[in-house]
Symmetry: C2
DNA sequence: AAATAAATTTAGGTAAATCTAAATTTTTTA
DNA sequence: TAAAAAATTTAGATTTACCTAAATTTATTT
């Protein structure tokens, strides 16, 4: 199956909006896609025909298993291209999203799998978000900064994301290493940065980008 | 200015069809684009509005200077992506055209200029065709196999295209080197291969791909 | 529980890029 | 050079992905 760029954008937007088991509203989608609710209704009817989603009038929408798989493969493409742009073409991580929005619609599966290998099969994109594998599976990395972050809970660093020299430099400066014990003290909604307290050290603040690259487990 | 993929395909097709100063016919375009003559007429009217081409009913079409510039930048993108696919992602040269047909419509200029640098500013794509620079200028490499090839004319090798190990291997085997004197004896239209005669050696046949990588000048 | 507000859908249109069939112009040929 | 053939254009539809305005359904308030 091949889908238009427009349809792919709908699928991706629904995927990002449907947390847990809530269904996604027409208005929320229209807002995310910068379009009008009436246009969304039109498109949802077409995507329903193609069994990509479950949709009933006035009841909102959810992706089917098939729809989720398509979404994950689009996200895979997006994040691998972002990684390529930053690591190989020297773009800043803040300027790659827009370009990846175009590149993610290139259809060749072989291309994206080769790109994955060429890049060394990274598991996180430059923003710290996980990259699904060729089968659409997300790597199960427990990240520090989930939406449902728990404050003051003792945790231990179990690993780090992509081990780039830039990240290593920052880890060294902040003295964060595998096995370090820490607690999150506060989340600043302004920039999603976190105040953390490491054992035997003064609290300090880290960015969301660093946080997303820290893998943790509950301390035993 | 940004043009739709469809318009870009028309511009590119006209560029490839307009040799010297002939104008391109509606039928030839329809054939090249796998579409119907009526559709071509429709599109030509739109592109004329945008001053991309000169068009008069029943008289065929030519690109304006502006149109040629656009065409060259699309060709630049196409060929750089082909080079990337072959040199970095290990694709065979025969399988990259289709993928590059999609990639050539990605709009970011910065992306393509960064890609050019990343690839080491190659001047020829994997098929041996020249890659225009960021300003849309074709490198002026006199190639051996132009459409207007002259038989039995003494020529001298002045350089070679992209110096890949694979090309070097073949040059060694055929004993072609800079300074070699040769004449083209015959062109086989079946596969565009050429029979060449090097001074003090028996005539032999080379492929169009090799020929395109040989730069020549007239012997003095 | 009405009444009002908000969300959503339906109805009817538009622009881009196609198409088929018919009309027109150009070219070829007898 | 007139007739036939080929090329091209016009006219009128179609599909996709949008839109606005009006109607309908659901949610929220008095």
């Amino acid at each position: 199956m091949k889908y238009s760029s427009s349809k792919e954008n709908y699928i991706k937007a629904i995927f990002h909006l449907q947390k847990s088991n809530e269904s996604v509203s027409t208005n929320a989608l229209a807002n995310a896609l910068q379009t009008k609710p009436a246009s969304v209704t039109d498109m949802l009817k077409k995507l329903k025909e193609q069994k990509i989603l479950q949709y009933e009038r006035y009841k909102g929408v959810r992706l089917t298993a098939e729809g989720k798989k398509i979404a994950l493969l689009i996200i895979r493409k997006h994040r691998l291209w972002e990684y390529f742009l930053v690591e190989k073409l020297q773009f800043g991580w803040e300027e790659v999203h827009e370009i990846a929005e175009e590149l993610e619609h290139i259809s060749s599966k072989k291309l994206i799998d080769r790109l994955d290998d060429f890049l060394g099969n990274p598991r996180k994109d430059p923003h710290g978000d996980p990259i699904p594998d060729a089968n659409g599976k997300m790597p199960v990395l427990q990240q520090i900064s989930l939406d449902s972050i728990e404050l003051n809970k003792p945790m231990e660093i179990t690993g780090i994301g992509n081990q780039t020299p830039e990240l290593m430099e920052l880890l060294q400066r902040t003295n964060i290493k595998i096995g370090s014990k820490l607690e999150v003290k506060k989340k600043f909604s302004f920039d999603n940065s976190l105040e953390i307290k490491m054992r035997n050290a003064a609290p300090f603040i880290i960015s969301q980008f660093l946080a997303k690259n820290l893998l943790v487990k509950d301390e035993e």
